[in-house]
């Protein structure tokens, strides 16, 4: 059984069936890619996983525990971090502070009244955050306001914020969109490196097939809210159903 189990999940927005009977099993310590045309329901699926949306029916379990009905911060504390399609960062804070916050959240839990301790004295946490910034190659930008970063840098920062928490499951929604080619390659290397260094499961949504085929060990193709095929990358390439989905035909069951 996978670390993440999605069973029979349905979600409607008015007349639109955004997710229709989605079943997905992500094995522990693998990179699982979810691909599919625009509007296929990929982000919606992640929204269900992190507690942003409650599905109409179905179950979602992480490491044997149900995720549904939990608040987003509780789900994160279970060990799930997410990089959003449009970067969600603390724009008014510095890059360094952006990375410090997840460090504190990881160490202190969802709330702690640490009003009299001083950030400057938290040498261990500062060190962790600084190392993370070095890993994503942003150490020279650590005093910048995060809101002033380029789109690609915002994305890398958000990834750093997730990675620094050492999540057990990392959800990435188009992590390289808006990045220059070189940064995309760096991101691939970074994720591979992290993967090699420690136990982590990743679910990655990506339109860039170079990224998908560099990282993924398994791929699920989603079209119009329903998984079309799931297989290893070599068998997904050139799969007729996949071609069909991307060409926009609706011939599937």
């Amino acid at each position: 059984m996978g670390i993440l189990e999605v069973k029979g999940v349905n979600k409607r927005f008015g007349g639109l069936q955004a997710l229709g009977n989605v079943n997905l099993s992500v094995a522990e310590n693998t990179v699982h890619a979810i691909i599919g045309p625009n509007g296929a329901g990929k982000s919606t699926l992640l929204n269900v996983l992190v507690g942003k949306l409650i599905p109409d029916s179905g179950t979602v379990t992480f490491d044997g525990q149900s995720v549904l009905g939990r608040k987003p911060h509780e789900i994160n504390q279970m060990g799930i971090s997410r990089v959003f399609q449009t970067p969600e960062i603390f724009g008014d804070l510095t890059v360094m502070e952006n990375v410090l916050i997840p460090c504190f959240a990881k160490r202190d839990g969802s709330f702690r009244l640490h009003a009299f301790e001083q950030v400057a004295n938290e040498s261990l946490i500062i060190e962790t955050a600084e190392q993370m910034l070095i890993d994503v190659n942003m150490q020279d930008k650590r005093h910048m306001h995060a809101g002033n970063l380029s789109r690609g840098d915002k994305r890398r920062l958000e990834m750093a914020m997730c990675l620094v928490q050492q999540p057990r499951l990392l959800l990435l929604d188009e992590p390289t969109a808006g990045m220059a080619r070189a940064d995309t390659n760096n991101t691939i290397d970074l994720l591979k490196e992290i993967k090699a260094k420690r136990d982590i499961t990743m679910a990655i949504i990506e339109h860039d097939m170079h990224v998908v085929f560099s990282l993924a060990e398994r791929i699920t193709v989603l079209a119009q809210g329903t998984p079309l095929v799931e297989d290893i990358p070599s068998r997904i390439k050139g799969h007729p159903k996949v071609q069909e989905a991307y060409l926009g035909t609706t011939a599937h069951a």
């Binding site: 603390f90 916050i101 997840p102 702690r112 640490h114 001083q118 950030v119 938290e122 306001h145």
Partner: protein, 399 residues
């Protein structure tokens, strides 16, 4: 020093020196001179600077850091005053129990109001706090008369039990003290043409204000402080990072409520009476204006804003037509009358008008408040060569 970074310790030290020398610094004009009316160095006003400084420092922890704009903080000020006066009536004229109770009661009160109001954000939160404060005001004014003495306000009386200082009862109303030192007692010092007044009440308020500022600095620089700024910046990201937003905002709300309670308790300690008008919405609005005028989210802004407004309220408002006629006495009669008629609405009772215009100017041209203005001027004077970076400029919220 005191567990503060060098820069913050220096800031605190400067504020401490300025505050403790306030009786001298605020009386720059020789006693009896024409300009003496602009002297602000009398105990009653200086106390108000310090006390409203505390009020605004606390308000800034909520508004400046989390961005939650409360329009009901005067309720906590009022509750603090009532609590303190009750302590003076029942227990002792020593201000310590009164002030402690006012902080506790205001804390509990803000816990309840915050718990409910923080279910909403933005304008709805503001309206909820405003509604609660107006409700408190009306209750204090009428329904709760047995506790608040309604319209008249809560005052001391000779029949109060005052269990701890019963032995010392004399025929007249007692005065507030700190272990025997009377709040209203002041020493007048003549120095050349100047006259300075050093009062116990002011120094008690000033020390508490410095303590309040010290705690605020610690909060600003704590992990908790970063979390509060994160609330303002992106609550979604906070939740998905594993942080529960609500208790953080509630804690900020209660802390700022306790600051307001302290200020209210001190107001009563300086002058032992409490009235419902202290809770009115205008009083809530005043602290908003103080904070924004001085610079929301900065350490010094609220103190400067509070000082500014209290100075205008007490000094500017005294400039009446006669004074204006005096000023322009050098002009020929007709012109003198004309000038005075034109500018009179901005002086005296019209100080609100001037204040309002200034506030508008600051909000439009200096969104960072007076502190931001001062910083811009400072930068103008020590402009570094182009391209020079200030590496630590963005690491901390400005002082």
């Amino acid at each position: 020093m005191f567990g503060l970074e060098k820069k913050d310790a220096a800031l605190l030290l400067i504020v401490a020196v300025v505050t403790l020398c306030a009786p001298i610094l605020l009386n720059p004009f020789p006693a009896g001179s024409e300009m003496a009316q602009f002297n602000a160095g009398y105990p009653d006003l200086m106390q108000r600077f310090a006390i409203y400084g505390i009020f605004a420092i606390g308000f800034n922890i909520l508004f400046g850091l989390t961005g939650y704009l409360s329009f009901g903080h005067a309720a906590f000020l009022g509750v603090g005053s009532y609590s303190a006066v009750w302590m003076f009536k029942l227990l002792s004229m020593n201000i310590i129990p009164g002030i402690i109770l006012s902080v506790i009661v205001a804390g509990l009160f803000s816990l309840v109001i915050g718990f409910i109001s923080l279910r909403r954000s933005g304008i709805y939160f503001s309206i909820l706090t405003l509604a609660f404060a107006q409700m408190s005001y009306n209750l204090a004014y009428s329904v709760l008369t047995p506790i608040t003495n309604g319209e008249t306000g809560l005052q001391l009386s000779l029949n109060d039990p005052r269990v701890l200082d019963a032995a010392r009862t004399t025929g007249s109303l007692p005065v507030t003290t700190l272990f025997g030192a009377e709040m209203r007692s002041a020493t007048s010092v003549q120095f050349g043409v100047w006259e300075w007044q050093f009062s116990t009440g002011f120094y008690v308020s000033a020390v508490l204000m410095l303590l309040a500022l010290y705690l605020a600095i610690r909060i600003f620089r704590s992990p908790f402080g970063i979390m509060l700024r994160a609330v303002k910046s992106n609550q979604n990201r906070m939740s998905y990072t594993g942080l529960n937003v609500r208790p953080y905002t509630l804690a900020a709300f209660v802390i700022s409520g306790m600051y307001a309670g302290l200020a209210g308790g001190l107001l009563a300690a300086m002058d032992p009476l409490a009235g419902a008008e202290r809770m009115q919405w205008t009083a809530s609005g005043e602290v908003v204006i103080m904070t924004i005028l001085g610079g929301a989210g900065t350490l010094l802004g609220p103190i400067i804003g509070a000082g500014f407004i209290k100075y205008f309220e007490n000094i500017f408002s005294k400039i009446n037509d006669n004074v204006l006629h005096d000023w322009f006495a050098f002009l020929p009669d007709g012109l003198n009358d004309f000038v005075v008629t034109v500018i009179a609405p901005f002086f005296g009772d019209g100080w609100n008008l001037t204040m309002g215009l200034m506030f508008m100017a600051v909000v439009i041209f200096l969104p960072g408040g007076l502190v931001d203005g001062a910083r811009r001027i400072g930068r103008l004077f020590r402009r570094k060569p182009a391209g020079a970076k200030r590496p630590d400029a963005a690491t901390k919220p400005a002082e």
